[in-house]
């Protein structure tokens, strides 16, 4: 049971850390609880469906279905994170000013919350399907009855949720004036890490044949499947044996999001805000 608990804990942690960052990034935004919950529930339902069709998915695209699926959903999350950051750069000042005003600013804030809900959904989907496959496998064998599986599963979920809550609690200790910049960077590094992971799935699936040289091996210092290594893997995209392609993707996404947010911040405010401020 302990072995199951640890495995479930680690999978939950990978998704939970992302939820913690998103919660901190949306601190004070109206309606964020609803959207985050939607992302989690959607991810859980999706993970059961994926687990049920895992065999079929695996054999798609000449047996590279799993790799293609993982790469695709990760890249969707990268796009959502890039878009969210750009949107916040464009509308952040408006939102902060009009936080109390119901209407345009808050309603269009929902689009950015939807993007984050998709990011959470993707993370929960990926880790959740692994958890479902793992636990149903134990049930299918003679090795564990319902009680053992339930105990290990629930225990792992509880522990993973606890660590994620601790991350969130730690993040919101950051003074408000620095919280936005900190969480923007965390979301950017999250996106970069996901892109690097996606690139590895593409390489594994044979879709990407360039840049496969491993640049360094830091597994002597920190293995990426140790507890801290795994947390860093989620938070900043740490991997102990990065390939050229992974480094390019990582740096490319960070640079790309920085440029995108700079460009978006320079765009003029929306029509209604212009009218509103003209009327003041």
């Amino acid at each position: 049971m302990l072995a199951s608990l640890i495995i479930v804990f680690r999978e939950v942690l990978e998704a939970g850390l992302i939820v913690g960052i998103v919660l901190a990034a949306t601190q004070g935004v109206v309606g964020r609880g609803r959207w985050i919950a939607l992302g989690i529930v959607g991810g859980i339902i999706g993970s059961c469906i994926i687990a049920a069709f895992a065999d079929g998915i695996s054999s798609l695209f000449a047996d590279t279905g799993q790799e293609m699926f993982n790469a695709t959903v990760l890249l969707i999350a990268v796009v959502m994170l890039a878009w969210h950051n750009a949107w916040m750069a464009q509308h952040g000042r408006e939102l902060a000013r009009d936080m109390k005003a119901v209407g345009h600013a808050v309603r269009s804030g929902e689009k950015s919350l939807a993007a984050l809900a998709i990011v959470i959904g993707v993370a929960v989907l990926r880790e959740g399907s692994e958890i479902v496959l793992f636990l149903t496998g134990i049930l299918a064998s003679e090795e564990g009855g319902i009680a053992t599986v339930a105990a290990g599963g629930l225990g792992g979920v509880a522990l993973g949720a606890l660590v994620s809550v601790l991350l969130y609690a730690g993040l919101v200790q950051i003074p408000t004036r620095h919280l936005f910049a900190t969480t923007t960077w965390l979301l950017t590094l999250l996106a970069a890490g996901m892109a690097a992971t996606a690139v590895n799935f593409l390489a594994q699936g044979g879709m990407l044949n360039a840049g496969g040289t491993v640049l360094w091996d830091s597994s002597g210092i920190l293995r990426d499947n140790s507890l801290i290594g795994q947390a860093l893997h989620v938070l900043v995209g740490y991997t102990d044996r990065p390939t050229e392609a992974q480094l390019i993707a990582y740096v490319g996404v960070v640079a790309g999001i920085l440029l995108l947010t700079r460009w978006a911040a320079g765009k003029p405010p929306s029509d209604r805000s212009r009218v509103a401020s003209a009327a003041e």
Binding site: D55, E67, M80, A82, A86, N209, L260, K267
Partner: protein
């Protein structure tokens, strides 16, 4: 309109890497079979030709699922109970590349030897 263009820009960011993708996955020759039985790999050591893309056929004969993983070969793939998956590795320089089953790490240990 503005929202659409922001989204397009974000998509362009992701798709710009698509220039490096192959049209079809590189096909390897005959697969080398590794069986999972009682949470152990059989054979535990597998020889593969070096500097070539190689396909491993992981045949899980247990009822439990397993996650076939190797940091050295940079692969990670789930195989359900009583199912098979194909995992492509390489091209590998000559050497020893350990792999393990994440769900039963204590006993599921093996290595690929490229020579």
């Amino acid at each position: 309109m503005r929202r659409v263009s922001l989204l397009s820009a974000a998509c362009a960011l992701a798709l710009s890497g698509a220039a490096f993708l192959s049209a079809a996955p590189v096909r390897a020759d005959d697969a080398i079979t590794i069986v999972i039985k009682d949470h152990k790999f059989e054979p535990a050591e597998v020889k593969v030709p070096a500097n070539k893309r190689v396909t491993l056929l992981v045949d899980n004969q247990d009822a439990t699922s397993e996650e076939f993983e190797s940091g050295e070969m940079k692969v990670e793939k789930i195989v359900g109970g009583r199912k098979q998956i194909k995992v492509m590795v390489g091209p590998l320089k000559p050497g020893r590349y350990p792999f393990f089953g994440e769900f039963h790490e204590a006993t599921a240990q093996g290595a690929v030897i490229a020579e």
